[in-house]
């Protein structure tokens, strides 16, 4: 092996064919840069979408009362099913698949007043579990509704972060009293800001949450608007949903297969869909990058063929001086790997620089939209492996041609 002379020869070739070498390297540079960027942005975008999907709640299902669509045990179809808090109690006690459950009572456009600030807001009456299920994380120094609030029907509310700013501005909200429909309520908690891209009945950041018991006593609701469940980790949401239909079907005498009797929104399915969609999306992006890289590899192979033509005499000289076949082979493959390696490394570096600059840009919403692109170790490993394979295959054919040359023909003595 002649590492130094090989390297000198490599630099000499680059110098001699500046434009062609630059264009070839650019192919590799662009391919690896594209792969790293696509991977980084794809990952960031996926994470951003999944996080905002989780904003509404992680792996939850929401049930609404409906109307039966099938006859069942002598009962006609078209019966309206109405749900109560007792149904949630029943599911909580009897279900093996459901880990958390909370009813929701709702009222819309209820006047809320603090000092001179007035606003109309949606009010929701819930159980304490609701906060965990729906990712309503209290800001430091505040809390969500607890069992004692429920038991004592306390006049306390937990509010969304935007509502807090609307009512209180920069002022501390926790501990303050507001007038809700003319009744004084104490603010016990403010929701920590979260990304939420889906909802039913309004964003959590603008909503007022109060204990279900307080809500019922204030407005005298008998029926709940809907309820939310979370499945135990050892059970799938599908199993939990089936159990809910069976339990409530038995109670209200509707067919557990009747999907109209209860409406359901299973967010885990959306989550799965989104995960699969983004996995496919990422695979597509990476596919584009890989094909760019392969095209670059073909370019490298072409340049190596040209280099071979130009360097035939030098190969002949080396053969005359005693170079074995393996040396010529190694030299060509090494050069190809150097071209792909340098191009790939520069591409990786450029992509890394782009990704590092994104968070420094003065567009705060950008990160929420596209997420935080990250150059992952996986993409680094993938690029290295791919460049290795491409470099090897781009080099092996010209290398074999070079190594199989007859010295006398290489020296052009004949």
């Amino acid at each position: 092996m002649l590492p130094f002379i090989t390297f000198k020869q490599f630099l000499n070739d680059l110098r001699r064919q500046k434009l062609r070498s630059a264009l070839t390297m650019f192919g590799i540079f662009w391919g690896s840069c594209a792969i790293v960027l696509l991977f980084a942005f794809g990952q960031g975008l996926t994470e951003a979408q999944l996080t905002s999907q989780k904003g509404m709640g992680d792996n939850i299902a929401i049930f609404w009362p409906g109307v039966t669509s099938q006859e069942f045990k002598g009962l006609s179809k078209g019966r309206r099913i109405r749900l109560t808090e007792e149904d949630c109690e029943l599911l909580k006690k009897s279900s093996v698949t459901v880990s958390r459950i909370s009813p929701e009572y709702r009222r819309h456009s209820i006047p809320l007043k603090y000092g001179k600030n007035n606003t109309l807001r949606n009010i929701i009456g819930v159980w304490p579990e609701f906060g965990i299920m729906r990712n309503l994380i209290p800001e430091f120094g505040s809390r969500f509704i607890n069992q004692r609030d429920m038991a004592e029907r306390r006049r306390v509310i937990f509010i969304g972060n935007i509502l807090k700013t609307d009512l209180f501005g920069a002022e501390e909200a926790v501990g303050q009293t507001v007038l809700l429909n003319g009744t004084p309520f104490t603010v016990i908690g403010v929701m920590k800001e979260k990304v939420q891209n889906s909802s039913y009945g309004g964003r959590d950041s603008r909503t007022v949450f109060m204990p279900a018991s307080t809500f019922r006593s204030m407005w005298g609701h008998r029926y709940i608007n809907n309820f939310v469940i979370q499945a135990r980790p050892e059970y799938s949401m599908l199993q939990a949903r089936r159990e809910v239909y069976e339990t409530l079907g038995a109670k209200y005498r509707f067919d557990p297969e009747d999907r109209e009797a209860l409406g359901v929104w299973d967010t885990s399915r959306g989550f799965e869909f989104l995960k699969n969609f983004f996995a496919a999306f990422q695979a597509f992006l990476v596919g584009i990058g890989v094909s760019t890289l392969i095209t670059g590899g073909i370019g490298v192979s072409n340049i190596m063929n040209v280099v071979l033509e130009e360097r035939t005499k030098e190969i002949g000289i080396k053969m005359a001086l005693g170079a074995r076949k393996s040396y010529i082979l190694t030299q060509f493959i090494l050069e190809t790997l150097l071209i792909t390696g340098v191009g790939g490394f520069l591409g990786f570096l450029f992509a890394w620089a782009v990704v590092s600059v994104i968070p420094l840009l003065p567009f705060p919403d950008l990160e929420q939209m596209i997420g935080t692109p990250r150059v992952s170790l996986l993409s680094g490993i993938m690029i290295t492996a791919l460049l290795g394979v491409i470099g090897f295959f781009a080099g092996i054919f010209p290398a074999r041609r070079a190594a199989n040359l007859q010295p006398v023909r290489a020296l052009k003595l004949f």
Partner: protein, 234 residues
């Protein structure tokens, strides 16, 4: 004393498409160790083909070629490479130096192929360059040297692994007469030091330095320069 080069009925035929051309038509030649031979003949007589085969850059189409009693005909690619590296030193008309490498690096190449270790290798290169009078040009590239200097570097390179045979193909062909005579003196010195030298040349002034002349014409040796014993055997 067994011959260093033994050729019997060596033929070389080139096929270019449908056209066949016989460059050597049956060479019978013995070269003994320490001999200085000049191969002369007009263009197209087969001189270079003979040298290529002698130097293991090419293999004969038929006949027997033995180098130091070893049959070259059936050797592998790598065996031939090792022979070129260890036993033969080439000096070409066009110098054939690596253009991007310095004089030092050019001389170093055969030593690198022979896997001579760093310290020993560097000392050897310095010694060789001093021997051909180019100790001060070690860092020069071929483009920074005269023709005579380049050929001296090529000779230093040919001597790197102390080969038994030096093969020179028109070594003064690209040089002016002054540089040319300097190179010829170097060959004389090498011959005095015991090396076997085979020079291919047009120039009879150079050929006169040789102990023996081998004349080629149309791929055959002129009778008189052919080894009588081998000629009879054929």
């Amino acid at each position: 004393m067994s011959p260093i080069i033994y050729m019997k009925q060596v033929k070389k035929r080139y096929q270019t498409g449908a056209v066949a051309f016989e460059a050597l038509k049956g060479i019978n030649l013995i070269v003994n160790p320490g001999e200085f031979i000049a191969v002369v003949g007009p263009s197209g007589s087969g001189k270079s083909t003979l040298m290529n085969i002698m130097g293991c850059l090419d293999v004969p189409s038929s006949g027997i070629y033995k180098l130091e009693d070893e049959l070259v005909n059936k050797m592998t690619h790598n065996q031939l490479a090792d022979i070129r590296n260890q036993k033969i030193g080439f000096v070409f008309q066009a110098f054939n130096l690596l253009p991007y490498a310095t004089a030092f690096e050019n001389v170093e190449v055969p030593l690198l192929f022979a896997k001579v270790n760093g310290k020993k290798r560097r000392a050897r290169v310095i010694e060789l360059l001093a021997r051909v009078g180019l100790a001060d040009k070690a860092g020069n590239r071929p483009t920074e040297m005269s023709g005579g200097e380049m050929q001296r570097v090529a000779i230093a390179r040919a001597l790197a692994n102390e080969p038994d045979i030096i093969l020179a193909d028109e070594p003064t062909g690209n040089l002016d007469s002054k540089s040319g005579s300097g190179i010829v003196s170097l060959f004389d010195e090498l011959h005095s030091a015991g090396k076997t030298i085979v020079i291919i040349t047009h120039d009879m002034n150079i050929a006169q330095h040789a102990q023996r002349l081998v004349r080629l014409k149309d791929g055959l040796m002129d009778t008189g320069t052919e080894d009588p014993q081998l000629a009879t055997a054929s």
